[in-house]
Structure formats: C-alpha cells, structure tokens
C-alpha cells in the first residue's frame, strides 16, 4: 500500500500548483481519491469530522441498485427465451441480458464521466461523485434494445443541458437520469414506446410480443400475468424497473442507511395507492379498474419512487416538503397512467413535474416557519408599544 501511495505521490507532482499539468489536477485527483481518502485535515471549524462523504453516500446508492440491475439482466434473457420457447438456464438468461446491458453501462459512464471531467477541469473544481449513480440509472431505465448511440446522445443531453447548464452537481432542477430518459422518449419515440421494444429482440423476431402490462391495459386487453410475476418482476419493461421485490431490497438499504428519504418513498406509495384506489371506485375503463395494489408493482412506479424521486438535489429538501412531494409524485404517476393511454407509464413525467415544483413546496414549508418568527416579533412590538 505504501508503495502504491509513494508511486501516486510521484505521479502527482506535475499536477501540483505551478507545475505544467496544474489544470488537469481535478482529473488526476479523481483517480487518486478513488484509491485513497486524502490526508486532508481540518483547518477551521470542528476539528473532527464524520466518516461519511459524498463518495460513500453515492456508493450506497450504487449498492442499492445492484439487486435490481442483476435481476434486470436475468429478466432480459428470461423474457427472450421464454417467448422464443428455447430451453435455457439461469446463466443463459443472465448472459443474454448482460451482453446487451453491460455495453450500455459502459457507454453511459464513458460519455457522462467524460463530460464531467471536462467540466471539472474547465471550472477548476473536483469531479463530483453524483454521476456514479446517474450513469448507472440511465441504462437501467431504458428499453433493452435501444441503440448505444442513442444512449450516448441522451446521456450527453442530460449531463450538459440537465446538469452543467444549471451550474453542475447540486444545482440542477431536474433529475439528470430522468432527463436522459425523457430526451430519448421524445426524440426517439419508436425505440422508447409501443409494444415491440420491451423484450429483447422483439422488433426482430416475429414470435415475440413485447407488450407491457400497462400497455395492454391501455389497449383494453386482459392482463395475463399473476401477482407474483408482477411483484418478482418476470414481466416485460425497462431493464431494471420490473422487479418490485429487488427494488424493495434496494429501498430497504436506502432507508436503513438513511441515504434515501423514507418520507419520499413512503409518501410516494401512499399517494399512488390512494389515487389508484379512487380510480378503482370510479372504474370507467380497464386502467381505472386495475386494482390499486397492482398499480404499485407494475411499470416503473416502484423504481421511480425509490431511486429517482429520492434524488436529494431535485427533490424537496424540507421534511414536510418531502412528504408532500412524495405523495404528489405517487398521485400524478397514477393519474398520468390512467388519463394518458398513449403513454401508459406516468412515473417519469410525474417525477419531472414534481422536480419543478419541489422548490415551491419548500418555499411554502419554510414560509410557515418565517411567519411564526414574524408573528412572534409582531407580538413583542405590540406589547412594548
């Protein structure tokens, strides 16, 4: 270890202040601090600091994504093989999925981190770790057969327009991963919707139907999946959104570690359940009468609420605000599903919409505290007058 450290310190020299590669210091530092937590000590303020930092926080989210990702790889193969009727093992299915999904992840990280590094060097700040999560989320919410160049363009759009244009990490209004998906959705609709994109090779092989449950409901057809398949995730859909079970494992990790806001997650499910329940009572069409508890386990709702709505930068920031924000994400997800049969999955647009409103929600929550303070002042001035 000390040998490696020495080597790194030697390599670091040309990047130091006043040396020839000074400008590229953030790029080197990103690699250096990936290997070692730096030897920086406290200069002012509290003399001791908590073990947590942004890298650690982001890694917890990456860990939470892993179960859904692995299941997503398996499910990609499973959907393909079970529809073609070929015999297959778990490994065949997993490899089939991995073969398609790993390149997407590589492209997403390469393009996104590339842009992040350039901006870090250009702006002279350290590379922020947020993209470790965004870069993994983006492939996980795409249809499996989307061409890699579309992934690359969507990523570039999300990072450049969605994040850096607003001032970089911590300043963006919208969730960057959803920006990538929304961009792909509106730019390349034939690759992002319909009934031919949700199962691997569905557009090439005639025997495969790639319809999602929400898609069939919107078309007024019967749903042929049982509850367990919906919950466990053996259904067509975006790569990692299908398994509520494995998303739930991730949610558990996020809630237990406190990294993901349990207020948003719980609020989101409550909002969706309540809205779906109301529609059940109304029951005018197949989507409306789709049982409320099944609304929670099909489509991207669970994935969106657990991993995208909880993005602390684009969500509401106050405790009360998080409740309101979470509940409204759930409400709007189901509302969009039911009212917009052309695009049966509502969670993406619901979260983006609420991202825009999150600052307003916080504003009113904080305003309440300000009012208390002003009222207190008014009572005192009235007394002394």
């Amino acid at each position: 270890m000390s040998f490696l450290r020495k080597k790194l310190d030697d390599l670091k020299r040309p990047f130091e202040k006043g040396q020839k590669w000074e400008k590229f210091a953030p790029a080197f530092s990103a690699f250096d601090t990936f290997l070692f937590v730096p030897d920086h000590t406290t200069k002012k303020g509290a003399h001791i600091r908590d073990a947590v930092d942004l890298k650690r926080t982001m890694m917890v989210v990456v860990l939470a994504l892993i179960p859904a990702l692995i299941y997503g790889m398996y499910n990609t193969g499973y959907q393909y093989f079970s529809q073609t009727g070929e015999a297959f093992t778990f490994f065949d299915a997993f490899l089939h999925g991995a073969w398609k999904i790993v390149p997407m992840i590589v492209v997403s990280y390469a393009v996104g981190l590339g842009i992040e590094f350039i901006f870090a060097i250009y702006r002279g700040h350290e590379v922020n770790e947020g993209y470790l999560v965004t870069g993994l989320l983006i492939p996980m919410i795409m249809p499996v057969d989307i061409p890699l160049w579309m992934v690359a363009v969507s990523v570039a759009f999300a990072v450049l327009i969605g994040k850096e244009a607003f001032g970089g990490t911590g300043m963006n209004i919208l969730n960057p991963a959803l920006m990538a998906r929304a961009f792909a959705f509106f730019a390349y609709p034939t690759y992002m919707s319909g009934n031919k994109v949700w199962v691997s090779e569905a557009s090439n092989v005639d025997g495969i139907s790639g319809e999602t449950i929400l898609g069939s409901l919107a078309a007024g057809k019967e749903v042929s999946y049982d509850m367990w398949s919906m919950f466990a995730g053996a259904i067509p859909g975006s790569i990692a959104e299908t398994s509520t079970l494995f998303i739930g494992l991730g949610a558990l990790l996020l809630i237990l570690t406190g990294i993901g806001s349990w207020r948003i997650i719980v609020g989101g499910f409550i909002g969706a359940a309540a809205m779906a329940f109301l529609f059940n009572l109304w029951g005018a069409n197949a989507l409306m009468s789709f049982p409320w508890y099944q609304h929670l386990i099909v489509g991207g709702l669970a994935f969106g609420i657990v991993f995208m709505a909880t993005d602390p930068v684009s969500a509401a920031q106050t405790y009360k605000g998080k409740w309101i924000y979470g509940i409204l994400v759930g409400v709007f997800s189901v509302m969009i599903r039911v009212f917009n049969p052309a695009y049966p999955e509502g969670v993406m647009l619901a979260i983006l919409l609420m991202n825009v409103f999150a600052p307003t929600i916080d504003h009113y929550v904080i305003e309440a505290s300000i009012k208390r303070r002003k009222k207190r002042l008014a009572t005192v001035t009235a007394k002394s007058a």
Binding site: M1, L4, R5, T33, F34, L35, F36, V37, P38, D39, H40, T41, T42, K44, G45, A46, H47, I48, R49, D50, A51, V52, D53, L54, K55, R56, T57, M59, V60, L63, E126, N128, E129, G130, G168, T169, G170, M171, T257, G258, I259, S261, W262, P312, V313, Q317, T318, Y319, K320, K322, W323, I366, S369, I370, R372, R373, K374, R376, L377, V380
Partner: protein, 475 residues
C-alpha cells in the same frame, strides 16, 4: 423525527407519518426542555474527576483573538510592570470594556500578526501575585448601574457576551434576559457540576450580581441528569434540560425559553465565569482561576487542573509531538493552539487528539473503516452506540457541492432550516437571513453540522462571517 443517538440508545423513528411538529417539545406545564434532535459524539479520553493544580506558568497571555470583533487599544507598553487586575488594553470601539492582566508581572511582548494585528499580549509572571484591589462589595445593596460599573472597572465585562452575534455585550444596551447554561453536552467537555461544586458561594453571588443587569429574567439551565446542585438557587428561573448535544448550548436553550427577535439582546455568561465574577465581588480582586479538563487520547493525563486564565499550555502538558493537535476548548468549537500556545480566555477544556494526516485506501467504501464514528448509517459504527471512539483530525473526504438534504436538520434542535440559512448566509442576503433566524444562532450551534455534513462545508465559519455582516449592516 429521524435518528436520535443519545442516552445510550438509538431510536429509529418511523412513527408519525405526518410530522406536524418536527421540533422540540417544551413541556408547557413546567420550565423543562427536552431536546430530541442532536448527537452525542462519544470519544475516548474523558477527563477523570480528580483535580491537580497546574504548575504556575512563567508566562501568561491574553489573546485579543478570543474576543471576536474587539480591536484592542493598548494601555500598557512593553516592558512595563502590571498588577493582576490592571487594565492592559481596552476595546477601541467600546472604550468602557477593559481587559485586565490575569497575573502580576512584566508585560514582555505584544505579538503581532499580519497587518500588525495584535495576537497575544504576553506577561512574564511574578512568583506571587499582587492585585489591584477594588474592595469587597455587598451585591444585595448595589443597583444595576453600580454592578455594571464595578464589572467594567474590574475587567470582568468580557465574561458577559451577547446574543445575537456571539460577541462581548455592549454595556450601553439593555438585555431582555440573561442566560447561564450550567451544563455542557459537547464531546469530552468539562462537567459543569464538577467545576462549580466547591465554588457555589461565588456562583450564587455572581448570579445575584448579573441578575441586576437586566429588568427581565435571569435563567439558569442545568442538566436534568445532574445531581441537583443547581436546583435550589433562588432569584432566577431554573430549567432542567435533557437530550443530546447541543442541548447544553445556551443558544438552543434561549431559543426554547425566550427566543430572540430582531432588535432584542440577550446576554449570556459561562457558568464558571459567573463564579469568577462572584469572587470578584466578594474579594475585590480579579482572581481568574479556572478548572480545566485535560481531555483526549493524546493528553499525558486525563484529569482536571486548576489554572489561571492565560496559562501557557506547555507548562501543563509538557513537550508534545507535532503529530498531536492541541485544542483550547472542545473538538467541535475549540481553537487549535501551538504546543507553546496559551489556553483561551473562556476555555474549560484542553483537548488533545492525533492529527490525521494519513491516507486511507478505499476508505470511501460504505461499511468500511468503522473505527471512525459516523452519524450516517453508511458506516456500521451506529451498531455500537456505547462505544467510545479514538478520533483524529482527518477531514474524511473532500469538500463537495451540497447534495444530501435532511442531515443538517437531524442535529439542529431549533425551529430553523439550517441548510437554507447557510445558503442565504453564503449569498449574503440579509433580509432572508433575518427571516430564517440568523439572530437566534451562534457559530457553535452549527458545530455539529460542521462535523456531520457529507459535503464537508465549514458551517461555523459561514455563520460567523454572516453574523459579522449583520453587525456591520444592522448592528
């Protein structure tokens, strides 16, 4: 709601789906305060409750840097001899506030820093002190004005600080209340009951005196878990306070008992400073002796020492390696002092911890390096709530953009939105700072945010700069 560590237990609260009040419950039936948000950081190196007298230093120093915002105007020149209690400098912009020599001796050096700012006024001590005698007084016979003048003349005024702004009180102003927090919840801090148990007469006299400085109430807050040393004091409003740090911060107590509105002043005095004031009234001498807890893993001995204000730390702890940080005060709010530096004016602790100038391989992996305490459950240290940790000064990461939300609120037991306030402070937006409660906070109330925040921002210095801006713009 959220997470509360303290009282040796962890409660993860998922109860209360709709959080209508996420603040603190003040028991409306009594004057007691229960704080629920906060964090007790359990560290190794607690001072044992034994008292030794530190050998008398050869040199003492008064550091104008201990008095935030004071520009010293020297009265005594280098080489002159002074008595204990003799004025050595006063505040240029408030000339009735005088600072006196803690010992008798010769003023040997005025150490200056950049722009000739005075850093230390060093006095070489005589072997025995001769005091300026102000004569003993019967406090009960004195008026508020007399008390004030006596304190100003005797050099005791710097013990009286004001909120808002956390600076020495302006004697021209009238406070609406006076607060004494007779407890400390900061990590490794001195036990206030232990400091005062043999000085209760001084403490009570001091209280009686300062109570005359306000037409409002004088409040004394003490630890609900304590032995009841303070419970029988007359003439003041008593409050039992319980909960994790920062329950002992006087600002938190003021916020829950009599919050500060724009334009109001509250004065605060440290518990031992009250006793020093009391002894000044009883004896007529400025006899500023303190009990100081020597804490932290690197201290040669974890115990209490009695010492005069301005003692040279080298005379107490001996020669210390440069890989040890000596802090005058506690690990959250104290000042880094040199090995031959001087203990701060208000400090009741000297904390010594190792410097953390070392790399940790893959230290950013979650659930790794659990020997470093963490409020976040991305480390496993939360599984051992009773464990005492050995800590160093490593930043454990690098400064980053503000990303994580909700963590600052966990350690801010006030009706204040800490992250929003910090952002407005950085933007120097005075109106919004006022709206968000800048008058109710002091840097020390943000110390736990310094410690816990994921982005490693320096919350205390942001608040300090914002308060200085408020002094300039609003006053």
């Amino acid at each position: 709601m959220g997470i509360y560590y303290g009282n040796n237990l962890i409660i993860i609260k998922f109860a209360g789906i709709f959080e209508l009040t996420n603040f603190i419950s003040i028991d409306s039936m009594s004057n007691d305060i229960k704080i629920r948000k906060g964090l007790d950081i359990k560290l190794q190196g607690v001072a044992e409750k034994t008292v030794s007298t530190a050998p008398r230093s050869k040199k003492f120093a008064i550091k104008p840097t201990d008095f935030h915002g004071v520009t010293p105007k020297m009265v005594v020149k280098e080489g002159a001899s002074v008595k204990a209690g003799e004025v050595i400098f006063f505040s240029k912009y408030s000339d009735s506030v005088k600072f006196v020599a803690p010992v008798s001796g010769t003023l040997t050096e005025i150490r200056r820093g950049a722009k000739r700012r005075i850093l230390e006024v060093i006095i070489e001590a005589d072997t025995e002190d001769t005091y300026v005698d102000h004569g003993s007084k019967d406090v009960s016979q004195m008026s508020g004005t007399e008390v004030k003048e006596h304190l100003l003349a005797g050099g005791c005024w710097p013990f009286i600080k004001q909120r808002p702004y956390d600076v020495i009180a302006n004697p021209e102003e009238a406070p609406k209340a006076i607060f004494v927090s007779a407890m400390s919840t900061a990590p490794l801090s001195a036990d206030v009951e232990f400091l005062l148990k043999d000085r209760m007469d001084d403490f009570k006299t001091g209280l009686e005196a300062i109570a005359k400085l306000t037409s409002g109430k004088t409040h004394v807050c003490y630890d609900a878990k304590g032995s009841g040393l303070f419970s029988g004091i007359n003439g003041v409003a008593l409050h039992k306070v319980s909960g994790p740090h920062p329950a002992g911060n006087v600002g938190v107590q003021i916020h829950h008992i009599d919050p500060i509105n724009a334009g109001e002043r509250v004065w605060v005095v440290g518990p031992e400073d009250v006793a020093i004031i009391g002894s000044f009234f009883r004896t007529g001498k400025f006899q500023a002796d303190r009990m100081v807890a020597l804490a932290g893993t690197e201290a040669p001995k974890n115990a209490y020492y009695t010492m005069r204000i301005g003692t040279n730390v080298h005379d107490v702890v001996g020669k210390i390696s440069s890989s040890v940080r000596i802090i005058s005060g506690n690990v959250l709010t104290g000042d880094h002092i040199a090995n031959d530096g001087y203990v701060g004016y208000y400090a009741n602790e000297i904390t010594m911890i190792p410097e953390g100038k070392e790399h940790r391989m893959f230290g950013w992996l979650p659930f790794k390096d659990n020997h470093i305490p963490s409020m976040s459950r991305s480390s496993l240290s939360w599984l051992f709530p009773n464990k005492r940790y050995k800590v160093n000064t490593n930043l454990n990461g690098e400064e980053r953009a503000l990303v994580v939300t909700g963590e600052m609120e966990q350690v801010m037991p006030m009706d204040i939105f800490p992250m929003q306030l910090l952002k407005e402070c950085m933007a120097a937006n005075i109106e919004k700072m006022e709206n968000l409660g800048i008058y109710e906070v002091a840097p020390e109330d943000f110390a736990l945010i310094d410690y816990t925040n994921t982005s490693k921002i320096e919350a205390q210095s942001i608040i300090r700069e914002a308060l200085d801006l408020m002094i300039q713009e609003v006053g």
